[in-house]
């Protein structure tokens, strides 16, 4: 394992120092490993927090700032943060208007956020939770932990951040969040595994002529393996299951072609070109898009596609100003 780290145990603590030094939008509570907005939000506005294991940067810490998150709770690499961190963040960011927890549907995240929400309620903070479960690779959600929360989380954090920023109350912010969660779908694939620092070697072996289809964001193996193929075929393998799951025609769509961390941008652009061609052929109109590394899996090579079926309101909120390390416009 070759990584730019000091030791496997210190990855998160050391990275937080660099985040604090580089990102003027945030301040860092190193004890609780929470990244907060540098300037707290106006009193009376709903606050928004998220969190999860580290190794997915820029998510979530890179999305803290005006128009997006108020705080991000950082777990160890690929490990959900703890309820204490979430409680601390929740009570700190609450301006009196309540707090929305954005939770990706992984067992660990769900349980830790659940405990935190119970504790926050005890502490008198109004908490609502939105669960993102957008990964169409998980087919049979009855006999599993349900669909994983992946790419839609990024788009949701942006949109919901804008709703909170414009002063919508907790119920309506939660409704916007639910709308995005209900209308977002993702599908990912990997060319390589990633290497968790404390494990010291790749989570799984992937032969030089195979790829893993239906990968999550924790370096866990995907749904099945198949022989390596060209970009056109891979694009089809991402697009088809998403379109099969939800009808995206007749609405403005927000698309994200996301890199897993180890894939060069030129390949992501190339894949986006292939995806757009397929979507256009299916009569789907992409109104907004992101191409780049937004929700990553350490050094994994591969990509994921996320589509959110939007409406005028969601597009308006998408276009609202945002000022974070990971997403910025209008400011």
């Amino acid at each position: 394992m070759k990584k730019l780290i000091n030791s496997a145990d210190d990855v998160l603590a050391d990275a937080l120092k660099g985040i604090e030094a580089s990102d003027g939008n945030v301040r860092v509570d190193h004890t609780n490993r929470v990244i907060y907005r540098a300037e707290a939000k106006d009193s009376g506005k709903v606050a928004i927090i998220s969190g999860g294991g580290s190794g997915h940067e820029p998510m979530h810490g890179g999305f803290v700032g005006l128009g997006m998150l108020d705080a991000a709770c950082c777990g160890q690499v690929f490990t959900s943060p703890t309820p204490d961190q979430m409680l601390e963040a929740t009570t700190t960011v609450d301006t009196g208007a309540g707090v929305l927890h954005i939770v990706k549907n992984y067992t660990g995240d769900v349980m830790n956020f659940e405990m935190a929400a119970e504790m926050a309620a005890d502490a008198g903070v109004q908490v609502e939770t939105v669960l993102v479960a957008d990964d169409v690779a998980v087919q049979d959600s009855l006999y599993t932990a349900g669909r994983r929360g992946v790419g839609t989380t990024v788009l949701l954090e942006k949109i919901v951040g804008a709703a909170a920023e414009e002063g919508q109350d907790l119920a309506s912010v939660k409704a916007v969040a639910q709308k995005v969660a209900d209308n977002g779908r993702s599908m990912g694939m990997a060319l390589t595994s990633c290497t968790v620092p404390s494990a010291g070697k790749p989570t799984f072996d992937l032969p030089a002529d195979e790829m893993e289809i239906g990968i999550g964001i924790h370096g866990e193996p995907g749904r099945h393996r198949e022989p390596m193929a060209d970009a056109k075929s891979i694009a089809k393998q991402l697009v088809d299951p998403i379109l099969h799951d939800l009808d995206f025609t007749g609405a403005p769509v927000i698309a994200m072609l996301n890199g897993m961390g180890g894939t060069p941008l030129i390949e992501l652009y190339l894949m986006y070109g292939e995806v757009v061609a397929l979507l256009e052929a299916a009569g789907i109109k992409i109104e907004r898009n992101l191409v780049g590394n937004y929700i990553t899996s350490l050094d994994m090579a591969g990509c994921s596609l996320t589509l959110v079926k939007a409406d005028d309101e969601l597009i308006r909120l998408w276009d609202a100003p945002v000022k974070t390390a990971g997403l910025r416009w209008g400011l």
């Binding site: 496997a8 160890q76 490990t79 703890t82 659940e114 999550g216």
Partner: protein, 206 residues
């Protein structure tokens, strides 16, 4: 079961986890995200630093549970944390437990864990080791066994339960995303749960 013995139990658990953290992470690499060893080692090491503070059994167990919750994260943090916290809540403020009281505490802990994890048997989780172990413990006591024999029965049942997870298709947690591909691998959480009873047998045996 004295306060000291319980503290030794958790100390021994931490030691076994630390010895086997690479193995636990390897198991978690196969059907998860390669962090179960690091998670459990971090949490149990933190638990050990607080064991001397406790003056009562419920204090010891609750503090240990809370420490796991606040240091482990992931799936195992809330689950192991709940197990110990609920055990503590069930014992009351005492410094010694009869074998059957310990059994009731274990049962309460297990029920808390199952409620938190919404798990059933054969979901291929730690419950598949914990549940038969606690059943065996209770059954042995009911048959008139002493503490040592009951723990011995529990240890064997935990190991058998752990081994039985290998052919199972996971229906909970991260491994469930693998579907059929999760079969053929031993569950990391069931493995660490079996260590809990190995640790108990070790400290009771000595």
């Amino acid at each position: 079961m004295t306060l000291d013995l319980l503290a030794d139990w958790l100390r021994r658990f931490a030691a076994i986890i630390d010895e086997n953290k690479t193995y636990l992470t390897e198991l978690d690499s196969a059907i998860g995200d390669a962090d179960h060893g690091a998670n459990m080692a971090r949490g149990t090491a933190a638990v050990v630093t607080h064991l001397d503070e406790a003056t009562t059994i419920d204090g010891l167990l609750k503090k240990a549970g809370m420490t796991l919750v606040s240091t482990v994260g992931g799936t195992s943090g809330p689950l192991y944390g709940t197990l110990l916290m609920k055990m503590g809540m069930a014992t009351g403020s005492v410094v010694e437990l009869e074998p059957d009281q310990f059994g009731k505490a274990l049962r309460a802990g297990l029920e808390g864990l199952i409620a938190r994890g919404k798990t059933e048997l054969e979901d291929k989780t730690m419950v598949d080791a914990l549940s038969p172990a606690i059943d065996a413990y209770d059954a042995a006591l009911a048959d008139g066994a002493d503490l040592w024999d009951a723990v011995d029965a529990a240890q064997q049942a935990a190991a058998a339960g752990r081994d039985a997870t290998t052919p199972m298709v996971a229906r909970k947690g991260r491994a469930s995303y693998l579907g059929e591909r999760s079969a053929g691998h031993c569950d990391p959480g069931a493995t660490s749960s079996a260590y809990l009873f190995d640790a108990l047998a070790d400290v009771i045996g000595t």
